[in-house]
Symmetry: C2
Subunit: 389 residues, 2 copies
């Protein structure tokens, strides 16, 4: 924290700059030069601290010559307004919190988190907001973190992802009465704003396309049912199937993990009437399922059609290339940032919970790659493949 007044910073005028930094102010610090403060700049520029502050906050007008003198002095001393002191005066941390409750082993393959963050953060920092991130491992820890960060004044609002069934965080946020944006469809009215991809049409398009090609046994490997988006994908798949008069009992849980997808795939293929097509709730599950299918000697793209969800960068490089539903998670992050900034700019000291939050829907897209494009044989795929032998 101690700013070293190196000659670099002082433009090599260290010895002759006609300014002696006070070397102690009740300093109980071990050693080291003391921090440069607004007073040092004021003194060097020959103005009051108020003038320095004003010149850095732009609101009030000062003579240009004074502003220049102050800015020169600040540059010479390498001074910038201390963010902590500023935050204290303003009673705002100028920081948002992002708390993640996630199995860490899911993070390595999940395309959502890094892209969302890469979209979110630049949007916030463009407005000088910082982002504070926390990984928690239990709901208890998570709950405490939300409360603590607000009570301690660490954050001015939150970003939420991975909405869960009956998610207590929505009510918690309402109680805490802080701005928040939910990245995901809350499925109900909430005081928090929300932004999410609407992929219902994509899933319908996928199911209808398969149905049009003659598929009737279209299975679904769903993600973790505790997650709202996993349930939503399942529900839309089921509705699309029902709309075509198709049965929806070919379903298994894959929990968004590779191992789960492997088990789910085996279960589906072992069914009396195995599917001719499988819609996996994520590309990661689809990729794992592809290997399982290969092991079971069910050829993807020949005996069975599959599709995933997310459009991970590797999806086109699988063999056959994986059909999927693409969502731009970076865009989602960027929109979340914009909404959050809008939330805080409207100051609702109270009554935030009174109004309903904004809703912004983004479009997903169905991408029909080779893994999608097969027509079911006259018999089940396994019979087909054995009849070829």
């Amino acid at each position: 924290m101690y700013l070293v007044l190196s000659t670099e910073i002082l433009g090599h005028e260290g010895g002759t700059r006609g300014y002696d930094a006070p070397m102690s102010t009740g300093a109980r610090r071990p050693t080291g030069p003391r921090r440069v403060t607004i007073s040092d700049v004021a003194e060097l520029a020959g103005v009051s601290t108020a003038a320095v502050s004003r010149s850095f906050n732009g609101a009030e007008r000062l003579p240009p010559s004074t502003v220049k003198r102050i800015h020169d002095a600040a540059a010479q001393l390498g001074w910038r307004p201390n963010a902590t002191a500023r935050a204290m005066k303003r009673a705002a941390a100028h920081t948002f919190g992002f708390i993640l409750l996630r199995a860490p082993d899911l993070l390595g393959s999940d395309p959502f988190f890094p892209l969302f963050l890469a979209g979110l953060e630049p949007g916030l920092s463009a407005d000088a907001y910082a982002l504070m991130i926390r990984f928690v491992s239990t709901a208890e820890e998570e709950k405490n973190c939300y409360r603590d960060w607000v009570a301690e004044g660490r954050v001015d609002g939150f970003v939420l992802t991975d909405l869960r069934d009956d998610d207590y965080r929505l009510d918690l946020l309402a109680e805490l009465n802080v701005p928040a944006v939910v990245a995901g469809d809350p499925g109900r009215s909430t005081p928090s704003s929300a932004v999410f991809h609407t992929t219902d049409g994509c899933i319908r398009e996928m199911v209808d396309g398969w149905a049009d090609r003659g598929h009737s046994r279209i299975a679904h490997v769903m993600g973790d049912p505790a997650l709202l988006h996993a349930r939503r994908r399942r529900d839309v798949w089921a509705a699309a199937m029902a709309a075509r008069g198709l049965r929806t009992d070919l379903i298994a849980e894959g929990g968004f993990t590779e191992a789960g997808a492997d088990q789910a795939t085996r279960k589906l293929i072992a069914a009396e009437n195995p599917p001719t097509a499988i819609f996996y709730g994520s590309d990661v599950m689809a990729a794992a399922g592809m290997r399982t299918l290969a092991e079971l000697e069910v050829r993807v793209g020949v005996d069975i059609a599959i599709a995933g969800f997310d459009d991970v960068p590797l999806a086109p490089y699988l063999s056959p290339p994986l059909a999927t539903i693409a969502c731009d998670y970076r865009e989602l992050g960027a929109e979340a940032a914009a909404i959050l900034l809008e939330e805080v700019s409207r100051s609702h000291p109270r009554g935030r919970s009174a109004r309903a939050g904004k809703r912004l829907e983004l479009d997903g897209a169905f991408i029909a790659r080779a893994s999608y494009e097969i027509e079911p044989g006259p018999s089940s795929p396994r019979e087909t493949s054995s009849s070829a032998a």
Copy 2:
């Protein structure tokens, strides 16, 4: 930032708690209840603010009964010490910075960032340190961010990744004189500590294994040569090749991208004497290369052997499963956190740049999956595959 004294928080004693929160203190705020402060707690508990502070900082001893009274009062009011005020007094933000200069399109498939973060953050927050993240898109922005965050007192130190050739950040950090930990091998002595995986042995094992099987034309698709780890992988591959008396001219740049890997693979296969094995500098490039090879009708695992680097979760699910070099990036993050905390705990108000930083090396592991296991045919792979026709 305004804490709502809801009945929830007050344990439903809101009306009869015998305590009237002062409703204004020169409050110029729009509306809303004012923030609960240490004075409110002191008043309710019938002690001084000093006592409240002490009871929350543990150092000095207070009578247990007083501590209890204070803590009860704090709980009743939902008060927690304001982090900003605390930081100001302590002249420390209790926060570390993590600034990323990265092409955002690389983030979606990169296993490093999310896992590293998932290891790093819990380590820091266990010690009540926060992590501030920033994505920048130019070196200029990056440099300013380091300087600004220190000058503004936003952070107490930094985490660095993606070390570049002749990386100016190492000197910048030394100049700024703040604690830092580098995740990666700086390749030279630096005042910052560093933690990284040593994979030289893994790469040698891979090359030697191929050489032992009779491969002599082992190519390398390297990552972005601006990055130190890409260069290191190349150098170690080249040294291992040279040690076996093998030529090192079969090399191409893939830039860590799918498209780059595609181009690099085409270039290598088009060579007069194409390789019988390819070491890709990342799994993402290897996966992309696999598709290119398939398009070129060079069969991985039959005509050519390949291996990647990173061990992404999908690696075992490619076909054939991808041999690779595994590094535990979560462990790397956890170790980086530990080192950083150790750095700040030793207070070096000056002279940080005098001593050399600590070095911690972690082990990588070579994982020989099916894509690795072929022996080269008597002729080149393309001749082999055409002679089979």
